[in-house]
Amino acid sequence: MLSGRRRKGYPAEVEKKTCTTKMAESSEVAVERKHVENKKKAPKRYWEETQNATKKVEAEKSSDESKQENTDKEKGKLTHDEWRKKKKERTHGKFISGKTDPFPGDAPIPEERMKKFQRGNKLEVPAGTRLKLRETLTRSEAGSDLAQNQSARYDLLLTEDAGFLEGEEDEDTCTISQEDIAEAVDITSGSKYFNLHLTQFGPYRLDYSRTGRHLLLGGRRGHVTCIEWQTKNLMCEINVMETVQDIKWLHSEAMFAVAQKKWLHIYDSSGVELHCIKKFNDVLRMQFLPYHFLLATASATGFLQYLDVSVGKEVAAIPTRCGRLDVMAQNPYNAVIHLGHPNGTVTLWSPNQKEPLVKMLCHRGGVRSLTVDKTGTYMVTSGLDRKLKVYDIRAFKPLHSFFLPAGASCLSLSQRGLLSAATGDIVQVYRDACGGAPVTKPYMAHRVRGTVWGVGFCPFEDVLGVGHAEGFTSMIVPGSGEPNFDALDMNPYRSTKQRQEWEVKALLEKVQPELISLDPGMLGKVDNATFEQKHKERVEAVGYDPLAHKKFKPRMRKRGRSSAGSVEKRKNKVAHEDQRDVIRKTVGERMEKEKKRKESAKVQLKGGELSVLDRFKKVG
């Protein structure tokens, strides 16, 4: 909440500084359009629609009334809602005083907001359906309607708005320097722009914790540090005395993983080494899937491995056969791992399949970096061909292609869809790069001291972290962070106790790795595989065909010869027949071998020394 308010502070302040007329171009256009609309039709009263709606509702009610009455009589008691409805019907929306309610019924919910909470399409119940089916369907529809309505209503409680940056009429926002912004905004927000000069231990990679409070920095030459970056409180600082390829927070800020020169190490927040996982070697990039508690690693040997950090088990190790894997991203929507390859392809992986779910050719040169947005709609890639491409990852279709003069080495998408691309030592931020019209110029740009090695937006904050050769830069990007956080999911202001409780809950709600697939709604669908297919899979899973051999069932015999004892005897006669066959065979083979050996020994004994020509002798 606090952060939101602070963020809100930006625009006004910035405007004061830069703008003389406060009108933005976009808003002007919008207004004119409205103007045109006015010309076309008579101005619509805001109450008209609602009245019509209520009329309809009333008509429906009246048609349903006859049915309802019966059921009500049967039931004998009314729920509160029904009672209210009835009362309304009685009074016909009028009060006893004779006045009519100008806003009858519940307050209407904007359609856009309703759409936001729509889950799947509504099912029309066909006419000829059976009673029971119709009942279940209508009931479930009513339930989902209720859920949608309620959620849309409660959306009102998300009061915070995202910030934005606005320049003068001729001024590009990308020319506004970070210093100016930091000066213009309030002190707390201004303090979010800072530089860490760490020249000694080489280019830095970074990772923000999911709450956005903690920052993890890993210098290439072994410097690992975690900071509570808002308070600038140093939690730990160590040098692992090895090359550090990548770093990643695990599910909470208590633990983090470091991909070192040889193996994967896990440290706690005070810098104590907890594990050295030797199964994961030569790791170059890592991704953590928070809802599955999976740490996915891509190694130089071409292996994609999944580590379940809740139980410490390796879930899957997939040989990708695509060479060195140093470009990696995760799709937060369906937990699929995206890998970029030097041959310009991007492959999508789940731990359940040994082959890529999707392989798409994105660039003519190698893929340098890629990132996927929060909703799982867009994938942004950059390649050696100096192009930046935006894909609709649901349909695997390219949307935009931009040519960056220097190409982009690091990409990152913020919670609200701002794209940051690092070209050399410049960090550019694009707004609306994914959807909408193609972008011609960046929203913001900032030059850092050294070559950029890693970029990452801070969750729930308007901050972009840049790790580079000369240290770390935290820059302010208004409008990048999500202003409304879900405290049950990720609470930036949580206490230790709350964190612990969240941890337990999250572990209980952990999603199994088997459920990772391109469509996360797979679980709610009916498995329509044929019996043969299922049988085949079963055979593969079990290792043999359980239906291949029919169980021996002794024939029924008369005159007391089918007594339990005799049946059992007969069964025993046939039991393990196949095994016995095998045994007989192997025993025979062994015997033969033995014989041969003996014979050859005899021959040897007979012949004494072996002559050169013995090899041409036929052995019986």
Binding site: H35, N352, P398, G524, K525
Partner: protein
């Protein structure tokens, strides 16, 4: 007779042996035992036994011979005729004696005759099986009717979203004490004992809280009334206590002056009373007069005012110097004079009267009327005394009079106070009486007042809201609306409040619309300034009275503005659209996309404000041309390589996905086989098993994408493998499952509703099977209850709304009742 018959029976039996072989041996024995007393019969028995034995010897086994006999001790052998054995017994044989007997009634004879004449036979009774079948059918019908009564309940319960057990739950909320007590029964021995004690002492048991009188009183008085009455009583009691306290205080006052004044006042009062009494009740007045006389006499006797007392002597000494003392003395003397004055003797009176009579001849009648000033000494006898009072005061000295006046004023004030209190008390009394007369009436005044005040208050509120809105709390408008919505949702059901809200809402909404319009006009820069000027001017000319007028006015104006500003407005939005849309459209239209085209698609060049330093450095360090060329070459080669590789890969995948044709041709079958001979084409065609082509690949239309067609079996383990029962197709099931019900995605209320349990039981409550009483009567009672509740509500509302009307009706009722009572009396 019996002995005869028994004797005769034996030969008859013997004769009938052949015919009746199946008669039981038991009877046989009986007969034998019956005739045991005679020796001859014993012999006979032996003889028969012998015969039997002989006959049994004869190879063929004979059935046991039986004999017909009568089971009595004295059976005569001769009574039953043997010759009649074979004949049928006719009804006439039996009834023949009837006609001979004289005692038989005619009626029975007739009936018997009729019987005789009837020839149709009785039907055979149904066989056991059939009767049972019919009985079963009837029983089945009955029981099925019984059972089918439950059907609706069962289906209802099956349909119900939620069942709450136990079915009969006591209504939540408060119960009346009487109900609780009435429902209670003595269970433990102690309780029973207590109850028996109560019973023996004829104490109320079932409804110990209220006696009939109390109930009646409760019925007679509503709660509000009771409250009012209680308040009244409280006030009365308080007043009484004040009175008492006051009296006590006054009694302790030692000021003589005060007491004197008091006495005077009392006297005055008394006089007034007396005067009235004379008018109304002369007898009582006479009585009073007598008493007064007595008291006067007593006072005379006491010599109190003779100026001989200690006090009087002291005063006499002081009188020379002290003015007040002198005055007091004078007063004393006055009183003394009064007292000692000889009263007019009745005879004298008569004389006077006579004189008067004498005079009456000369004078008119009115002279006899009492004259106010004539007799100042004895005021009691005169009619009007009030006018006399000032005179003695006039006589008193001026100073004293002043003091007196002051005191009097005080006293009068006090009196006034008293009067007020008395008034109140009297009022109470009156009210009580009224109440007793007219049973329960609410006080109409406050309600009327409310009614009067309400609209005023509403108006005031509205005006205040208006004012506040005008003050400029424009941002809060939405909030206000929201609040209103919330209030609506809450639905407090208080009409008055709602009215107020409505008014407020109306005001707010009007304000909102106005504000919005204002905002629009502000935010539309397209409207030129001169228009605004016109608006201002227009406002002066046309008076806008309603919102509609305003709207229309605005519309006209905006239209004008649009016409003016149409050219630039149309230009601006189209330009960017034309720039942005075409690539998307093309993509959609073209289905077969050329891979190379996709990859080498025209990319929009992004202008970067800051040139990357690295490149610059490179350029500085190395030759520009060389690097560029190298990059170009690398890019070109890489691109070619990449695309072809990818296409190959894709083709391979497609091949792998395609099912293979199975060749089952066996060479040599049906034709010549051997080295160098191949089976014929026809045969090969015949034996090649073609597999149905697989469904089209997902990436069929995506040239740059390979989508794996492999089925992911791991999810399948968690999926539903068979369509659950009520659903007919997977889409139905999927749509039912699509909405999450967890707390993460839903509000609290929704979760509670969606996850409500199917069956709810009450902890510790016994769930009894549904009884038959639950079926029908319950509904009735429920309905009745509901009806009653509704009625009550209506009554209440009516009482609230038009209290006076209701009251009137009640009064009328009461009156009727009273009349009835009177008539009964």
């Amino acid at each position: 007779m019996s002995s005869k018959s028994s004797v005769e029976a034996a030969p008859a039996v013997m004769a009938a042996e052949d015919n009746d072989e199946e008669l039981s041996s038991l009877e046989d024995e009986n007969v034998i035992s019956a005739s045991e007393d005679e020796e001859g019969s014993e012999d006979e028995r032996k003889h028969t036994k012998l015969l039997e034995a002989i006959s049994s010897l004869g190879g063929r086994r004979r059935m046991k011979q039986t004999e017909r006999s009568e089971a009595s001790l004295q059976v005569s052998e001769f009574s039953v005729a043997a010759d009649g054995a074979g004949e049928k017994v006719e009804l006439s044989d039996l009834l023949g004696t009837m006609e001979k007997t004289p005692g038989a009634p005619n009626k029975t004879k007739k009936q018997l005759k009729n019987l005789q004449n009837r020839k149709d036979t009785l039907e055979l009774p149904l066989s056991k099986q059939e009767t049972e079948k019919i009985q079963r059918g009837v029983a089945y019908k009955k029981s099925s009717r019984e059972v089918s009564r439950w059907e609706s309940v069962i289906t209802q319960n099956q349909k119900a979203e939620q069942l709450v057990f136990p079915l009969r739950q006591d209504p939540t909320g408060h119960k009346r004490m009487e109900q609780v007590v009435a429902g209670w029964k003595a269970r433990t021995p102690l309780e029973q004992e207590i109850f028996s004690l109560l019973h023996s002492n004829s104490q109320p048991i079932h409804d110990p809280v209220l006696t009939p009188v109390e109930e009646a009183s409760i019925k007679a008085m509503s709660l509000e009334e009771a409250k009012i009455r209680r308040a009244e009583l409280q006030k009365a009691r308080a007043l009484q206590s004040y009175y008492e306290a006051k009296a006590r205080r006054e009694s302790k006052i030692k000021s003589k002056l005060y007491h004197r004044v008091q006495k005077k006042a009392k006297r005055r009062d008394f006089l007034k009373q007396f005067e009235e009494m004379v008018k109304t009740d002369p007898d009582a007045a006479l009585e009073e007069l007598k008493r007064m006389e007595l008291s006067r006499m007593q006072e005379r006797m006491t010599l109190k005012h003779q100026n001989s007392g200690k006090w009087a002597k002291a005063k006499a000494i002081m009188a020379k110097y002290d003015h007040s003392a002198r005055k007091a003395m004078q007063e004393q003397l006055e009183i003394n004079k009064d007292l000692t004055q000889k009263l007019a003797v009745p005879s004298e009176d008569e004389d006077e009267e006579k004189n008067g009579d004498e005079e009456a001849g000369a004078l008119p009648d009115f002279v006899n009327d009492p004259e106010p000033i004539l007799d100042p000494v004895n005021p009691w006898m005169r009619g009007k005394l009030s006018k006399e009072e000032p005179e003695p005061e006039v006589e008193a000295s001026t100073e004293a009079r002043d003091e007196d006046l002051e005191v009097q004023q005080q006293q009068e004030e006090e009196e006034e106070e008293e009067n007020e209190e008395e008034k109140l008390l009297r009022e109470f009394e009156r009210k009580r009486k009224l109440r007793e007369d007219e049973d329960d009436d609410l006080v109409p005044v406050p309600q009327e007042e409310e009614n009067q005040t309400l609209p005023v208050a509403g108006a005031e509120q509205a005006s205040s809201i208006e004012v506040s809105a005008e003050d400029g709390s424009k941002i809060t408008d939405n909030n206000d609306e929201d609040k209103d919505d919330k209030v609506d949702e809450d639905d407090k059901d208080e009409e008055e409040e709602e009215e107020e809200e409505e008014e407020a809402e109306e005001v707010v909404s009007e304000f909102n619309s106005l504000f919005n319009r204002l905002m629009k006009s502000n935010t539309t820069p397209a409207v030129p300034d001169q228009n605004e000027g016109e608006e201002l001017l227009d406002e002066g000319l046309v008076r806008v009275q309603t919102m509609e007028d305003l709207e229309a006015l605005r519309k006209d104006r905006t239209n004008e503005a649009n016409q003016e500003a149409s050219v630039p407005a149309t230009d601006t939005p189209t330009a960017p659209e034309s720039a942005s849309e075409p690539p998307n459209k093309k993509k959609r239209r073209r289905k077969e996309i050329d891979l190379k085209k996709v990859l080498t698609k025209q990319a929009t060049v992004v202008k970067v404000p800051l040139a990357p330093t690295v490149l610059e450095e490179e350029e500085e360090e190395e030759a520009e041309v060389h690097t560029e060329q190298a990059a170009i070459i690398k890019e070109a080669f890489a691109g070619d390589d990449v695309i072809s590789d990818f296409l190959k890969d894709k083709r391979k995948q497609e091949e792998a996905g395609r099912p293979k044709v199975v060749d089952l041709t066996l060479p040599g079958w049906g034709e010549w086989g051997g080295l160098g001979l191949k089976p014929s084409k026809n045969k090969r065609r015949k034996f090649r098993k073609k597999v149905a082509p697989p469904p089209p690949r997902q990436d069929k239309k995506l040239p740059a994408v390979i989508i794996s067609e492999k089925r992911d079996a791991s999810v399948a383990a968690h999926q539903v493998s068979q369509l659950p029962f009520p659903f007919q197709n997977p889409t139905q099931f999927e749509s039912c499952v699509r909405t999450p019900i967890g707390q993460t995605w839903n509000t609290q209320t929704t979760v509670r509703k969606l996850t409500a349990p199917r069956v709810v039981t009450k902890m510790g409550a016994i769930i009894e099977p549904m009884s038959r009483e639950d079926l029908v009567p319950k509904q009735k009672s429920n309905e009745a209850k509901r009806g009653a509740a509704i009625l009550l509500e209506e009554k209440r509302e009516r009482g609230k709304k038009k209290g006076s009307g209701g009251k009137r009706a009640l009064q009328q009722k009461k009156k009727k009742m009273q009349k009835q009572k009177k008539t009964k009396e």
